[in-house]
Amino acid sequence: MQAIEVTRTKIPSPWQTLRASIWLEWQSRGNWTNPVVYTLFLTLRPLTAALVLVFMYRAISGPNAHGAALGFLVAGSAAWSFVEQVMAGLPQSVMADREEYAMLKYVYITPQRFILFLVGRSVPRMGTAAFSFIVTLAFGILLLGVPINPLQVNYPMLLGSLVFGLIAIVALGLAFAGLTLVLKRGAWQMPDAVVGALYLVAGAIFPITKLPGWLESFALFVPLTHWLELTRRALLGNAQTFSYPIADTRQVFLWLVITTIGTLIIGVLTFRICEHFARERGQLDRTTGS
């Protein structure tokens, strides 16, 4: 009698999971068209969002004005690509997998960690956001006279703040991806809506000192606020016009690190709790039709 041979299959390593999810996201995001149209797709939205602010500025300051406030607006708008692409993108990917392609349950039953799969899916979005960020800034510098000198940019500060900013953005994306699993209605609108709210709270396009006192205090507990401020300080140097509640750059960085750690803990916990409820209630393959 022939014995049944049992072979032990290796559980995929985290790197394999990451690699597969990065490739999946890249394909699902970009293989609907050719590279030229895809580049246009990546740049048109952030570029025109920045241009809206430029024309608002020119409506007030005159058609040829290009003062420091212009740099403030363009830098904030360009950096916001990361939030739109990654933070809003992660929950949208989960929704598309579940409702449009009906494949979330198959992803879920594979021998890998779902949270790692989602982190992997955010990586191509970080790349496309970085591309949008660079193109928007280059457009601003070359054609709109935005006062940023690429030779005087504080690159270590820019990259250091970006690392922590991205950790916070991914953590928030995970939290909202978890929420989409349990929401009955509004799951499609929720990511964009939250991005819109943070646009206000984090002072993406205006100084947070313009917010009411209580909201300004709250903004200091949002890591994106400090990340945007450090990005502006790194890009604009002394050309900053608007005030910030914390003057010392090292203190701003410290605030960014602390609030990022807090956001990471809250984000992962929120995701875990929502995931638990979604499994308990059988919502992982639900179609809301919303």
């Binding site: 609907w32 024309f55 608002m56 607006l73 993406a204 396009i205 100084p207 608007f242």
Partner: protein, 279 residues
Amino acid sequence: MASSTSPRPAHPLRLGLMTLIGRAYPRLIAGNREPDWLFYEATLPLLRVIAFVLVYRALGAPPEYTGFVILGGAMMAFWANVLWSMAGQLHWERQSGNLELYLMAPPSLLWILAGMAFGGMLTTLTRAIFITLLGTVIFGVTYQITSVPLLAAVFLLTLIALYGLGSMLASLYLFYNREVWAVQEMIQEPVALVTGMYFPVRTLGGLAGSLASLIPMTLGLDAMRQLTLGGQWIPLLSVPVEIALLAILAVGFVAGAAWSLRVIERLAKIEGRLSLKWQ
């Protein structure tokens, strides 16, 4: 012996109106049944509007610019509705398998789109009113309405032209699949730019402003701002000219939608695109 009776076909107009009401019904009911729309579709978009107002305040803009942004934000709700719930709708219906049912039903697809437009307009109107009222109260904006009938005419013509444009796009999207989502994302923000959603469209320059007038929102917003806000800003054209152009656009887009829907539906049938999914 049982006799087989075939139902008498309804008069085309009656059938069309019944279809319109039938398709508008879910828009109105589903859109308002749960109060969470107050949060997702009115309060959170308002936060974005507030951000733009604070930009103007940081730049030291005159007070009428606050009204500019609030009106723009309210009209943005209509543009988002046209884009995502009109233009993209036939694509979503195809994804969910409803499009075949629509095409098998006796009424014209145009009546179905008209129902979606009617329901969408009324539902979005509640969001727009909410954004305008709350924005006005928060920032203490005062309006100087010079003519209510003209304002109503501009508003109605803008909506008819906009939803006509949305219907045209809906038929065009029958040729596309996954690209639809990307195209929608690509055109949403540029339209906010070229129509002067948050600034006087004249700032773009005379030529760019004139070209942007092909999108009904440009003329509609400019005329509504002239009729409601005072101040020293320079409008694109005079209100009567903008009304005349809006009327032309409204007729053009509605007729264009009827034509394109007929032609593209036929072509999509020939190419077998009406039931394609996930391509």
